[in-house]
């Protein structure tokens, strides 16, 4: 048998051996056996010097081919075995993807805060400032400058927590109208502001009354502000907070600090306007009060009511939240039951 024949035999036999190896360790041993210094190919190459010179290159070439082939087969087999091993490992690593995810900490903004933030963002986008004022207020700002002199019957509409004769817990955010009107420099442009905050009434807490709740006041004063502007603005608020599918109804009302005064109703979300217990069978739900700022309010704050005028509105985030989410008891907002607070986490 020529050397070439020997090599050819090795090539054929050992290729099969490589295919039959079952694990990486034996494959490595086989590699050493075949391709190592004592391996048959090395041996064959050593025996090349006994060949006639003219045959050597051909033989050498063939031996290298066989070696490369075997080496390639070993590597392919190694890849296969590695893959098998990995697949086995992966199969072992299978987990129950239905087990619960690990809890993480995430807190929620209070639902009333969410409503206030939403209103703030809407008005900031329309060029309004956000201003806040004192919760312990002077009678002067809370009532007198809002065109509610002492003994005005409309003061009965609001039961007040007094601290002294002249100092009280503000019953509304409206005093911020007077405070900002007093300060605003109209030579620098119109006044457009909203003022969110906490207000207090001398009420017994029950499902629809709370001695503490929230309001957002808004006021726009300039030379050319109309009731039509008020109407458009109120519609925008209602659509932003409740969605476009609701109709809005404006109707006359009375507030001492606006004239004309309006109250805005939206279609009852519960019955769609057909009439139900929620809307007392009227099809409408009252959501906010507003009006054109009373000339007395402007004059008392030192603003010329012949030149300047505008609108003001006040809305109740507590009421909005109750309507929007169907909360049936206002006290929920202030008891801070975690099971309540964490319900309002849906974004968008």
């Amino acid at each position: 048998m020529t050397l070439i024949d020997q090599l050819e035999k090795i090539r054929q036999q050992r290729k099969q051996d490589i295919k039959d190896v079952g694990d990486l360790k034996n494959l490595d041993a086989l590699r050493v056996e075949l391709l190592g210094k004592k391996g048959p190919i090395t041996q064959a190459l050593r025996g090349m010097r006994d060949l006639p010179a003219d045959q050597r290159p051909k033989f050498g070439q063939f031996a290298n081919t066989v070696r490369d082939e075997l080496q390639g087969a070993i590597e392919a087999r190694r890849d296969e075995l590695k893959k098998d091993r990995l697949n086995k490992q992966l199969a072992n690593e299978k987990i129950d993807v239905t087990l619960p995810g690990k809890p993480v900490a995430q807190g929620q903004p209070h639902v009333i805060q969410q409503i206030i933030d939403q209103i703030e963002d809407l008005f900031i986008g329309m060029g309004y400032q956000v201003l806040t004022g004192p919760e312990v207020e002077e009678d002067k700002y809370n009532f007198e400058m809002m065109n509610l002199p002492k003994d005005h019957p409309a003061r009965d509409m609001q039961d007040t927590f007094y601290i002294t004769k002249d100092i009280l817990m503000r019953t509304q955010t409206s005093p911020m109208q007077a405070r900002t009107l007093e300060k605003h420099d109209f030579s620098k442009g119109p006044l457009k502001m909203i003022s969110p905050g906490v207000v207090y009434r001398r009420d017994t807490d029950d499902p629809t009354h709370s001695h503490q709740f929230h309001q957002v006041e808004g006021i726009v004063i300039d030379k050319h502000i109309t009731m039509a502007d008020l109407k458009g603005t109120l519609e925008l608020i209602a659509h932003e907070l409740f969605g476009n599918r609701f109709d809005i109804r404006l109707r006359p009302s009375y507030f001492p600090f606006t004239e004309p005064s309006v109250e805005a109703d939206i279609t009852c979300f519960n019955c769609g306007g057909k009439g139900c217990a929620v809307c007392k069978y009227t099809g409408w739900i009252e959501v906010l009060g507003a009006g054109m700022v009373h000339p007395n309010v402007l004059e008392m704050a030192g603003v010329d009511s012949e030149v300047y005028g505008g609108f003001a509105f006040g809305l109740g985030p507590d009421r909005f939240a109750m309507l929007k989410y169907g909360v049936d008891d206002i006290r929920n907002f202030y008891l801070n039951d975690v099971r309540f607070l964490t319900q309002f986490s849906k974004k968008g």
Binding site: D117, F161, T226, D229, E259, V338, L341
Partner: protein
């Protein structure tokens, strides 16, 4: 006030259905609470005639009646009413009918005798007991003799009418009468209401012979009286009774009912005195005197205040003016001479009197909102004429006047351009003039200026803005266009403070705390707990409940109330924060507190609730909350080092687990565990809290974020474990390491604390990793070793540490 639809039809030709009319009133005038029909929910209730009756064999009070209900055969009905009588027309609820309170009536047996329905009293078919006339209070009701047997009873009782319940705002007192509503609807529908005016038939005796008046004009700007003699007191005719009970008033007798009818019709409260019970002939309107008492018609005795207004004879008060009459001058069955008071009282005085005496009546509500000063005499005339007609009374000649007032139209000017400018409309000159005319106002047009004369029936209108509202509502709020404010652009943005407050909330929420909003008014005790500074408390002068008397001077107490609420409902894991105001006073005599924004947190149970972990081992501790506070302060990026300094100065806090928090040496709040006795008092589980002065944090200088190149050179770490006395704090060790760390010490991190077995008592082991890095070159081991040795030496010499 409930306004009768059919009554309105007497003056107007209303095409709108009652429901549509209600909607129209709501959109144009005042709120409408409901539009109802008294017969709502009732059915199969008919006129029956009792043909005969005989006692029930097994009862001493039941009668077995044979009743004609319009069928071919008589119907047998058992009745237990004391006044049941043969030949009377009665209210019969047939089998299958529904009566008041949604009760169904079936054919039944009463003590063995078949009863085909029920003979009803008024309060059984939906009448409130408050409006049922006294004579019918304890028995069944007899319908008029000509009522048609078998027909529904509703028309005979006014129950087929529709009642529009208007909720009148304080400015629209004129809508508290049928005439007032008719006038407004006239304007809305462009009709002239056909309002009738009384013609009084008088006898020759002057009323002034009987009575003279002594009136304080400040109390009663208008005070008049008419006198009617020889009245015969009896029940009012049915039509009048129906009008009263549909308005929610109980018919009493023909004199009292007339005064109430006039109130409903004109909105002018009247009062009828029994002249025979008045002492002397002078009637006064004056302030009450000290010690005077008056028992009012509702049989309540009132101790009068010297600021209450009374009507008095020469000896005693006989009425609480404008509120309610006195029992001592009440009209009764024997009254023959009636003095009718028609007056206007000063609204604020009436309001105060009604409040003080806690007696709010229809009359007081009318006077508080004002009444038509031009209609006082007409109301007296109408009442006197009705008493003549219904009680056969002789009306004495003339009206006696104690005080009077020259009633004039109010003149208000407004221009068309002003109207359109304010309303955003494009109304034409005659459109606006037409609206004023429809309202019954006089109007003169000069160029584009309207000179409007407003009659006394609309006493709420004084200024141009009032006219604008009239134009807007009669034109229709619906028709006003919808626009947004135009004009110069303004910038809308949150202020720095507002941004930081929002960010504060977002950070704490991201760290796992839920926002709470608690009550700012609390008890005096809670208001003064967890105080960050000295302060006097601010108290309400007249609180509603003992739970809410004092303004909070901390936020934590409110959060603990919240935790208590949760714990009491078996919610153990509570993590809350609150951003809100506290109210401080530097001295007790400071009237108005200063308001400060604080932010506080409270965590009880597990912050991260993991059912797979042991709840107790996983419960929040000082360090978990400290981590939150550190992260929060880190996010706020305030310049200066944050330090936690152990303190036992808060009586409500655990003395060994509480720290003051300072930034750059400035005190900004505290953190720690609530003292176990305080926790027990609140009925809460172990709780950790913090409170920070948010105003101070907002005002402190901030670090700006600035990019720092990430070093290309590797860092080298060295670990060191120290055995030190337990009294040595982490902060002390860190301070020493930082002090001697050398230029390349980048950070130090504690990675192990051990104070258990195998350590000498009173010792603890602390282990730190020190990281060195040179931003500009690769550090050599020698450099690091040199620096590290220095640190070790310092720790040994300064803190007595044994390096392990």
């Amino acid at each position: 006030m409930k306004i009768s639809y059919s009554w309105l039809q007497e003056y107007l030709d209303l095409k709108a259905s009652p429901k549509d009319l209600g909607e129209k009133i709501e959109r144009s005038s005042v709120e409408v609470d409901s539009v109802t029909q008294p017969s709502d929910g009732l059915k199969k209730i008919v006129v029956g005639k009792i043909v005969s009756m005989e006692p029930h064999p097994d009862s001493d009070h039941l009668q077995v009646c044979q009743v004609d209900v319009g069928d071919e055969e008589l119907s047998q009905i058992v009745c237990g009413a004391p006044n049941v009588a043969a030949d009377k027309k009665v209210i019969v609820a047939l089998p299958g009918s529904r009566i008041g309170g949604n009760v169904k009536i079936k054919r039944s047996k009463m003590r063995g005798v078949v009863s085909n329905g029920m003979i009803c009293a008024l309060d059984e078919i939906g009448f409130s007991k408050d409006v049922v006339p006294k004579e019918w209070a304890d028995g069944i009701y007899f319908l008029q003799d000509d009522a048609k047997v078998g027909e529904p009873v509703f028309p005979y009782l006014g129950m087929d009418d529709y009642l529009i319940d208007v909720d009148v705002t304080p400015n629209r007192g004129d809508m508290l009468s049928v005439y007032g509503v008719a006038r407004d609807l006239g304007a809305i529908y462009d009709q002239t209401p056909q309002l009738n005016h009384p013609q009084v038939e008088e006898v020759s005796t002057p009323a002034a012979d009987k009575v003279s008046l002594d009136v304080d004009k400040d109390l009663a700007p208008i005070y008049t009286m008419r006198v009617v003699e020889n009245v015969k007191i009896q029940p009012s005719p049915r039509w009048l009774q129906i009008k009263l009970w549909n308005a929610g008033m109980r018919p009493i007798n023909n004199v009292v009912d007339v005064t109430n009818y006039i109130l409903l019709k004109y909105g002018q409260p009247l009062h009828a005195f029994d002249y025979g019970k008045v002492s002397g002939s002078t009637i006064k309107a004056r302030y009450a005197q000290k010690g005077e008492k008056l028992t009012t018609l509702n049989e309540e005795e009132h101790e009068l205040n010297e600021k209450d207004i009374v009507i008095a004879d020469d000896q005693k008060p006989i009425a609480l003016a404008g509120v309610m009459g006195g029992l001592n001058s009440e009209i009764d069955d024997h009254t023959t001479t009636v003095a009718i008071e028609s007056a206007v009282f000063t609204p604020t005085l009436i309001r105060k009197t009604a409040q003080r005496q806690n007696l709010h009546t229809d009359a007081s509500q009318h006077f508080e909102r004002g009444v038509d000063r031009g209609g006082v005499e007409e109301a007296a005339d109408a009442a006197a004429e009705m008493m003549h007609e219904l009680a056969d009374g002789d009306v004495l000649k003339g009206i006696v006047t104690g005080s009077s007032y020259d009633v004039k139209d109010v003149i208000v000017k407004v221009t068309l351009s002003r109207v359109n400018h304010v309303l955003g409309t494009d109304l034409k000159l005659d459109q606006v003039a037409d609206i004023f005319k429809r309202l019954g106002f006089g109007v003169q047009v000069d160029g584009e200026t309207y000179t409007v004369s407003v009659p006394s029936t609309r006493w709420d209108i004084h200024i141009p803005a009032d006219l604008l509202e009239e134009v807007a509502r009669i034109y229709g709020y619906d028709k006003i266009p919808s626009t947004l404010p135009s004009g110069p652009t303004t910038v809308g943005a949150l202020t720095e403070k507002q941004k930081l407050m929002r960010d504060s909330r977002h950070v704490l929420e991201a760290l796992g705390l839920n926002q709470a909003i608690s009550y700012a008014l609390t008890t005096e005790t809670k208001a003064g707990q967890f105080m960050m500074r000295e302060s006097s408390e601010t108290q309400l002068s007249w609180p509603m409940t003992a739970d809410h008397t004092t303004l909070r001077m901390n936020l934590i107490s409110g959060l603990l109330d919240d935790i208590a609420y949760n714990n009491a409902r078996r919610v153990k894991d509570v993590a809350l924060y609150e951003q809100g105001r506290v109210f401080y006073k530097d001295a007790a005599d400071q009237v108005r507190p200063s308001e400060h924004e604080h932010i506080a947190g409270a965590v009880s149970g597990q912050l991260i609730v993991d059912p797979l972990k042991n709840a107790k081992n996983n419960a929040v501790d000082f360090y978990q909350l400290k981590g939150i506070v550190e992260k929060y302060l880190d996010n706020l990026a305030i310049k200066g080092d944050v330090e936690f300094v152990a303190t036992d100065r808060y009586p409500e806090m655990h003395p060994g687990r509480t720290a003051d928090i300072t930034i750059h040496g400035h005190y900004i709040g505290f953190i720690g565990q609530v003292h176990p006795t305080v926790a027990e008092a609140y009925k809460i589980n172990q709780t950790y809290v913090f409170e920070l002065d948010l105003d101070a944090l907002i005002d402190m200088p901030k670090d700006m974020d600035q990019f720092e190149p990430i070093s290309k050179y590797p860092s080298i770490t060295r670990d060191v474990a120290l055995l030190v006395d337990k009294s040595v704090t982490n902060a002390q060790v860190l301070a020493q390491i930082q002090k001697r760390g050398g230029a390349y010490l980048k950070s130090v991190a504690l990675f192990d604390i051990y104070d258990g077995k195998n350590l000498p008592s009173g010792k603890q082991s602390l282990a730190y990793t020190l990281t060195y890095q040179n931003p500009n070159a690769t550090l050599t081991d020698d450099e690091v070793n040199h620096a590290f040795e220095k640190v070790q030496k310092t720790l040994t010499s300064e803190l007595g540490a044994e390096i392990r």
